[in-house]
Symmetry: C2
Subunit: 361 residues, 2 copies
DNA sequence: TTGTAAGCGTTATCAT
DNA sequence: ATGATAACGCTTACAA
């Protein structure tokens, strides 16, 4: 176990001073060709590698950024994080990843740890809560960009998706297919995307003069298990919805599981449409209609915005841009075929299978 | 944008020396109750947070570990990484994540960057290549644990899965169902898991006295696109296999896509079994039979092993353990039902639909 | 062009 | 019990 080589070692090997070695390796200031080659040779010989920690202490930058998302296990965030990492690494930054699991306490702790680590910037998809700590961080000069979700009263660069509009579009599409009883499994309460997606749902109903049935709005929490349970509740209703609008990918898998377990025919008995378009969406039977978010791009854009911010802070410019991307409705089969208005009756006549023990209408 | 508070500020506020403040906050050495409360109060007032970078310079530990996997977008690695992060964070370590994309150059670069960052340890799932750099790192005293894959000649703690045995078991199961022409889409050449999984396949055939048909072994690369292509090749064979054994999750989704596109009936025309058991496995039609790896546990175990190693290095103990976990065969429907030997003929008589234009047998 | 030395925020070893 | 002070490895004035 050989000792790690330092600049001092290189300098000694080159027969020059530490300052000299630093200048050559950092390629700044003055140095002769001769010194340059001496230092380079020495560094090579010792296979010297700078200690970025030590450098960071002096330069006050760590070339690391922190990323806090709710859960890297969900397709949306995995992809997003991959986007972040790709541009971060391309630019010489490392990313430190943290999963908040939608827990504000955990989120705060990670933020704190990241701050202590002296990360150069932070990309965060904030969970519920008042986020006073986030604001404090921002005020303290920490470069910060929000992704996917916003925080009221926090003016920093943000990369979002137009949740309201795409949710509206999705529900509108369902209505165009003839659906009138549209059940929705909402996201986690307190998270901005949940509110926005629900708002889009409501607007679509309203504009189509369909009365809003409270029983058709059931609260989810962005997690699979909960959605599975909630979908079960929907199925067991006396008058179940003809379609389920599920507000993220893990919940969609949960809802599908529930439909399967209860042998509900998709889309004949209950159709389904999900937010997020994971790789497996085309593989279910029937293939899943989804709202596809450009999660990878959201990641790259967020990271680019952050890097800009980091550079900007040095020059105390404050750009603070808001990027809003548009998700895409991907129509497959799970949402059902167009139903002629008068034929709708026939569709809800299909009885649910034994596990339920009674008809759907 | 207020300045970050340092120990010096705390000391000044408390009317004591920096050393004093450090001792109290670090809870070591001697200090009076009075000083303690003074320092604590001052720290609280200034909301002082230690600079772990500066501390690291002195203590030579960064409380960060590096993780290099091929691609966080695959279910196996996402889950594994989540396991790593959970135990890392529980123990006060941050994790820096890197995706090598199976590219040895990229892998080496990341390893280098991680080394420069002074991470306390490394968890890596090595790609192809000779990994001389990895060995060098290990020799230099860097704590290292390998996960999922091994490197010949590198004796460090490792967390693996018994690929050969589980592959054997899977293929054996297929044979028990009556399958005789078993196509396999292998993993990336040069990666240990690929070899092992193929070895299990071969042994199963051999022990069942089924001759090994080279045309039934097609090389994949662990990526979806390639498998989709290869599965297409299988489908177009004059005498296609009755089942496909696909060596990881992204490839399984690719193969499924190909089967779908070609309207191949699963499992009647071609059955399928996949390595890895993603959330969506029960959602395909028919539900996917898989070999489920305990990826989350692999992550937690790997991280525990690394932390042990890190602590051990300090005391120059070298435990170096090898943990081998057993995957589980999860039988669903895609692998087909038991076929009575003489009835096998009926099964391959089902003609492939128009896109293929000819029967399967 | 080169070397010296201060300083980044800590920790830890000295005296006192 | 406390306060100076010297590291840690690097960058960067400043002196030479």
């Amino acid at each position: 176990m050989e000792q790690r080589k330092t600049l001092k070692d290189v300098a000694r090997e080159a027969g020059l001073s530490v300052g000299m070695a630093s200048r050559v390796l950092g390629n700044y200031g003055y140095f002769s060709e001769e010194s340059k080659s001496k230092v380079l040779k020495a560094a090579e010989k010792l296979s010297y590698r700078p200690d970025v920690i030590a450098r960071g202490l002096k330069t006050r930058e760590t070339k690391a950024i922190g990323v806090v998302v709710s859960d890297i296990l969900t397709f949306f965030f995995t992809t997003l994080v991959r986007g972040i990492e790709d541009v971060a690494n391309q630019n010489g930054y490392s990313v430190i990843l943290c999963n908040s699991d939608e827990d504000p306490i955990k989120e705060r702790e990670y933020l704190l740890a990241l701050y202590e680590r002296g990360v150069d910037g932070l990309i965060i998809s904030p969970s519920q809560g008042n986020h006073s700590y986030l604001k404090k961080l921002s005020r303290s000069g920490m470069s910060l960009v929000l992704v996917d979700r916003t925080v009221r009263g926090l003016k920093v660069s943000t990369v979002l998706v137009d949740n309201e509009a795409s949710s509206y579009e999705a529900v509108n599409y369902l209505i165009s297919l003839g659906h009138r009883r549209i059940g929705v499994i909402t996201g986690l309460k307190g998270v901005t995307t949940s509110k926005e997606r629900l708002a889009g749902y409501k607007r679509a109903l309203e504009e189509n003069h369909i009365s809003l049935e409270p029983e058709l709005i059931k609260e989810g929490n962005y997690r699979r298990e909960k959605a599975q349970e909630v979908a079960g509740d929907f199925i067991r209703m006396k008058n179940p919805p003809t379609v389920l609008f599920v507000c993220n990918e893990p919940m969609t898998s949960g809802a599908l599981l529930a439909l399967r377990e209860n042998k509900v025919k998709i889309p004949e008995q209950i159709a389904i449409i999900g937010f997020d378009d994971p790789v497996w969406a085309p593989l279910t039977e029937p293939a899943l209609t989804t709202v596809s978010q450009p999660s990878y791009s959201m990641g790259t854009l967020a990271c680019q915005a952050l890097l800009k911010e980091i550079k900007g802070v040095a020059h105390s410019e404050i750009p603070s841009e808001e990027i809003i991307l548009k998700p895409k409705l991907i129509i497959r089969e799970s949402s059902g075929k167009r139903i002629v208005e008068n034929e709708e009756a026939t569709r809800i006549k299909v009885p649910l299978s034994p596990p339920l023990g009674r008809g759907i209408g």
